[in-house]
């Protein structure tokens, strides 16, 4: 109980020190939220190096806008939101268009979902990272972050129908990769 009280005060002190550009506070904030936020960036980036770049861009935005953080709300959720935005910015810079043979993908879609559900977290993450940037970003925003297609279309500068189509393709490819990879192993 006392630890919880202390933690809240420490968080407030940390935020105030970050607002004053104190380096020790910035490092403390970075260390505290690194484990959770790097995983968010890993989902959006294709590899660990890009994920690190996105993470650092996100933390730069956190430090710039820390004075705007509203006390009483979740700091983790606030930073998470900034990381998602940084990931979207990264996607826009790295945008490539790919065409996929959706008929071939549908032909492989009859895999057993039980096999997919037995995949480990690392395998699932690796499969997500193997998706093309546009599929990966749409899938993350819809399936994990919970944004509707309307908002995704605005964020990524695409139409709603493109968003739905990309999501469908992402799902097919994911299921194909996970089922095939599990069966092979």
């Amino acid at each position: 109980m006392e630890v919880a009280l202390k933690l809240r005060k420490e968080e407030q002190t940390l935020i105030e020190a970050c607002a004053k550009q104190e380096r020790w506070a910035q490092q403390k904030l970075y260390e505290t939220y690194y484990p959770a936020m790097i995983s968010v960036c890993m989902r959006y980036a294709g590899n660990a190096d890009d994920a690190r770049d996105v993470l650092h861009e996100g933390f730069i935005k956190v430090f710039r806008n820390i004075a705007k953080y509203q006390p009483g709300t979740s700091l983790k959720a606030w930073i998470h939101r900034i990381m998602v935005n940084a990931s979207i910015d990264y996607y826009r810079k790295q945008q490539r268009r790919r065409t996929e043979d959706i008929e071939e993908a549908y032909g492989l879609s009859s895999k057993d979902t039980d096999a997919v559900s037995r995949c480990s977290e690392q395998e699932i993450l690796a499969a997500v990272q193997k998706l093309s940037p546009v599929y990966r970003t749409v899938f993350n925003l819809y399936a994990i972050e919970g944004y509707p297609h309307k908002d995704i279309a605005k964020m990524l500068g695409i139409t709603e129908s493109t968003s739905r189509s990309n999501l469908l393709k992402a799902r097919v490819k994911l299921q194909n990769m996970l089922a095939t990879g599990f069966r092979d192993s």
Binding site: M1, R8, E16, R23, Y34, P35, R52, T113, V116, E121
Partner: protein
């Protein structure tokens, strides 16, 4: 097929939503160099440091002006002496009749509250969930005493409490019966209950939440008119009858009350030193002193009454306008006549209000108007700069000098 494809959403979401990776110390080095390269952060840092340095320099200058003040020396003899002459320089008058005014620290100390038992005890003393309010009350916390027979006092909206407890039971394994602090929850004001979002996110127990909110509630729950305190300092440019300006300074503390989101009313107390030189003598009143000038050193207490209007409120900046009036009381006054002249008055007539002089001679009022810009630096710290013009509505002293002042007020504000 669609259902199978949608199932993969939940599979991936469950797998990746809470995944975490171990911290890499090498990544912080890369982050640090990234911060140093970021021009925006560096610019803000330079602004902060530059502002602090400027404020410090201004404070030193003001203090230097105050402690470095010396009495002006009389002018040498003229070749054709008029009727009244003085053969020896006039020494500074002896400080025999001064009434030592109470120090501002003494005045403020009388109004300070004592530290209470609740403020002195640290968090380490909390060991049990049920807090004994009778022993740990503080004057700053407006909490109704807990009545064990009443679960929901009038200060709490019952629906909020029920929602809070319902949300807790879905998030934690504890049941309502196992949480012994319903009474403490019920004793909180409505204003504290919205913080339940923080509670749920951090998975704190109700006791932690309650104990923290009660212990660390420094602001009274229902303060209708928030109080602010400003400490101000300014270099002044004063003028009276002559075309030249003379420097002075002002130091003080002001208290303001918020009347609404945009309006504040402010008053306080300030010391102002006005060092006016070469003021002409009124030749109609003193024809024998034609061509003679005087130096006037006035130590003035100022009591302002200002209305402040916030032009616009943004996250970090607040431009505002202030207008009102100030009562000036010359506590101590010293006049030195040039050209070797003595004062045409007896000593007491020229004395300040605290030196035995007449109060009517030493009081005057000004109409003030200023334009200010405030910058928020921290959660409860604001710096401001406020150029202000004070136009004398009447004159001061036996020579009827009207003193107009232009001030560049700087300072800091905090909420009480």
């Amino acid at each position: 097929m669609e259902n199978r494809l949608e199932n993969i959403d939940s599979i991936v979401k469950d797998a990746l939503r809470n995944i975490e990776f171990p911290y890499q110390a090498a990544d912080w080095e890369a982050m640090e160099s990234r911060i140093e390269k970021d021009a925006f952060l560096q610019t803000r840092l330079y602004w902060l440091k530059g502002g602090e340095l400027l404020l410090m320099m201004l404070s030193f200058w003001v203090l230097f002006q105050f402690f470095g003040m010396t009495y002006p020396q009389p002018m040498p003899y003229m070749e054709t002496p008029p009727q009244k002459l003085k053969t020896t320089p006039i020494p500074p008058p002896a400080n025999t009749n001064h009434i030592v005014p109470p120090r501002k620290e003494d005045i403020l100390r009388e109004n300070e509250g004592e530290e209470t038992e609740g403020e002195q005890k640290g968090i380490e003393e909390k060991e049990t969930v049920e807090l004994d309010f009778a022993e740990k009350t503080t004057p700053k916390v407006n909490v109704a005493p807990v009545v064990k027979t009443t679960i929901f006092p009038e200060t709490v909206v019952q629906q909020d409490v029920e929602e809070l407890l319902a949300a807790l039971t879905t998030e934690s394994e504890e049941t309502i019966e196992e949480v012994p602090v319903i009474q403490q929850v019920a004793s909180l004001s409505e204003r504290r209950l919205p913080n339940k979002l923080v509670l749920l996110d951090n998975h704190n127990k109700v006791a932690d939440f309650v104990a923290n909110e009660i212990e660390n509630d420094p602001v009274p729950n229902d303060r209708k008119y928030p109080l602010h305190f400003r400490i101000v300092a300014s270099p002044d440019m004063n003028t009276a009858k002559s075309s030249s300006y003379r420097m002075g300074m002002t130091l003080g503390g002001f208290t303001s009350v918020e009347l609404s989101d945009k309006w504040q009313i402010e008053t306080g107390l300030a010391y102002s030193g006005k060092f006016l030189g070469e003021l002409p003598i009124d030749e109609e009143r003193f024809p024998n002193m034609a061509g003679v000038s005087k130096d006037a050193n006035l130590h003035i207490a100022e009591i302002p009454l200002h209305l402040q209007y916030t032009i616009k409120k943004s996250t970090n900046w607040r431009p505002y306008v202030t207008a009102g009036a100030t009562a000036h009381i010359a506590m101590f006054a010293d006049y030195q006549y040039n050209n070797g002249y003595e004062s045409p008055f007896d000593t007491q007539r020229e004395a300040g209000a605290l030196e035995g002089g007449r109060l009517a001679d030493n009081v005057y009022a000004t109409a003030d108007i200023g334009l200010g810009l405030e910058r928020q630096l921290g959660k409860n710290l604001h710096l401001f700069i406020q150029p202000t013009v004070k136009i004398a509505l009447d004159d001061v002293g036996v020579h009827h000098d009207k003193i107009h002042t232009f001030s560049l007020v700087v300072g800091a504000r905090t909420a009480l």
